[in-house]
Symmetry: C2
Subunit: 380 residues, 2 copies
């Protein structure tokens, strides 16, 4: 199907940009001499993940057991489930391992570690568990010097569970916006995770994997001594938040929402779009950054940026496109001529993970304008 024929709203992936993003990250990882395990939560789409693996990725990271089940069914065996394990989910994890999936679990507390050990013992299964390390205080994990680190390591190690490694995610990198700050956090993430592995090893617990990453720290890292692998997700498509963080240009953003102008409020300088928050998502990540892009940055159908305009508001199925400055009266007066009913536009989103999740499929667009449908899934 040609781009012009796709019904709106629709989530478009620019294949050339996506491939460039994949090559950039994989090339950087190759240079740093680490393997790369993409986080597939961004797209939940086998077509995208196949491109990441074709470029050199080794295994995948998932955020839900549904992702693990779907990607294992599609032939991917090496899977890290990177959310601390809820004991009630162990039967699903066991089922995956019994089918031959090399599923690795994550814990950051003694209760979950004990539950995995007990469940594994009960079912005769040797689970592999990675311990989550907190290197920036933004979410989960055990800080490298905490006693709990060794406590959890011992509960696993002494009760028939394989300690496969340590992992950390310096997600506070999303709040930074200078190369220096990103490089410093990348080093903090590396050093903290390596230190946690060292402590476990000194306690007699093998810890083969040392896994770090977020898109900004992965791209900012200049040396990863002691690290075995890196994880990142949103780099594959990028978005306006990542642009503000400073790790991509607007021209790198591979995801956009195709929309149609369906009306105007000429007095207010508004064009009404058929992409509201149900299409863009409610993610307004750039509202806390240096450049607030509202609900998204408008572009022409061919991808040309439209500086001076923004999606300034959204209802469920209505977006409001308007000039970025209230005083831009000339642009406001011109709104019905510049954006007539029926005109199609593309909107760059705040957050690729959130926007993608609003759609059952992507339309992957080749440079010649031909598109194919790539399914994605939702749920847990």
């Amino acid at each position: 199907m040609k781009l012009e024929q796709i019904e709106t709203p629709a989530a478009l992936i620019d294949i050339a940009r996506m491939q460039k993003n994949i090559a950039r990250m994989q090339g950087h990882m190759n240079t740093l001499n680490v393997t790369f395990r993409p986080h597939v939560k961004t797209t939940k789409c086998i077509d995208v993940v196949r491109a990441q693996i074709a470029a050199g990725a080794r295994g995948i990271t998932v955020s839900t057991l549904k992702e693990a089940e779907a990607f294992f069914a599609a032939g991917i065996g090496d899977i890290l489930y990177a959310v601390s394990m809820a004991p009630s989910k162990l039967p699903r994890a066991l089922a995956l391992r019994r089918q031959g999936c090399d599923l690795k679990l994550v814990v950051d507390n003694p209760t979950a570690a004990s539950a995995i050990a007990a469940f594994g013992d009960q079912h005769g299964e040797t689970f592999e568990v990675w311990i989550e390390v907190d290197t920036d205080g933004h979410r989960s994990g055990i800080t490298p010097e905490q006693d709990t680190l060794l406590e959890v390591g011992r509960i696993l190690h002494e009760n028939g569970v394989k300690v496969g490694g340590v992992m950390t995610h310096a997600g506070s990198s999303y709040e930074l916006d200078t190369p220096e700050a990103l490089a410093a956090l990348a080093e903090q993430e590396r050093a903290g995770c390596v230190r946690a592995a060292q402590r476990l090893r000194e306690a007699g617990i093998a810890c083969p994997a040392v896994s770090v990453g977020s898109t900004p720290t992965a791209l900012a890292a200049t040396q990863l001594e002691g690290v075995t692998e890196v994880r990142a997700g949103v780099y594959v498509l990028f978005d306006l938040v990542m642009h503000n963080v400073g790790v991509c240009t607007l021209d790198d953003i591979a995801l956009s929402v195709l929309t149609t102008v369906i009306g105007h409020q000429a007095d207010k300088g508004w064009a009404i779009l058929d992409a509201g928050w149900m299409a863009m998502s409610r993610d307004r990540g750039t509202s806390r950054q240096s450049h607030d892009f509202g609900y998204g940055q408008p572009c022409l159908l061919n991808g040309t940026l439209l500086p001076g305009y923004v999606v300034s508001g959204a209802n469920q199925e209505h977006g409001i496109l308007s000039p970025t400055q209230a005083q831009a009266q000339a642009q406001a007066d011109d709104i019905t001529q510049r954006f007539p009913v029926g005109m199609k536009l593309r909107i760059l989103p705040n957050h690729a993970c959130a926007t993608g999740a609003q759609f059952p499929e992507y339309h992957a667009v080749a440079p010649d304008g031909d598109s194919v449908e790539w399914r994605r899934f939702q749920g847990w």
Copy 2:
């Protein structure tokens, strides 16, 4: 399946609360002597809509043609597609009408009106179109006194399109929070829409339907003279935004997200949940209201509210539950005992339409704790 067995995160509907909400709205409409056409965009779920129709609803309102197709396939014929028509979507509308669907379209501008007339002429189809009226300046529509109203009416009427009525949505009601302001806006919505119908009729254009509504104005209206029907959506489940608007209590909220505690950051007084923004949605509607509920209000598994706690932060698959006040050190110290790993909670959401859209299904829970799965769909 019993409530205790449902895997987390999951979207729960409390059936008794939902039925109470449905009965309340339908009863109010009956008293006001108007028919009620629920907006099914909130749930996109045939099981919910069947309950609305069983209670007395006449026809439905949809926000996408996919909803129209799905609900028509499920046996509902009287459908208002309440978003101004994009000309490129006319073939799908035609296909529905050719199958016997009594689909009504909406326009608020001459371009779309002309396109519908031309397309109908070309295909020998008499479309029915309702004209969208702007009664509160918050989004789309033509104000009652604008010349455009009659221009659009004439384009339709003189070119073989049936003008079926006028419709308006005073969505700015979501920004109010006193009974007086809501009642005043309800009257403004009524009067503006009735006036638009009067102008069309005086111009010789029949305008049988006069359709108004939003959940807050529908519940606040005390007389609806000249109105033939009311539309509302979120009332069926309610949410924290509607609580802050003042049209429901916390105990009326029928939607919650079931979640499991998966860890802690004890020093910070945080319990980590397996419901992040992917489950709760990124909707933070209460952040602009008198009471900010963060990403949601925690409750025990049995629905008992937990005042003094809030979901204060969210990553994609991690929620952060914490005391509402930083100085609540006793609560913070107590976090690991009060909310142990494995404990299940229910979280009331900011916005039922946005949270529901994150899930492929609801788990509808009866008073005895038994649940059934109600499918919902996404996309356009």
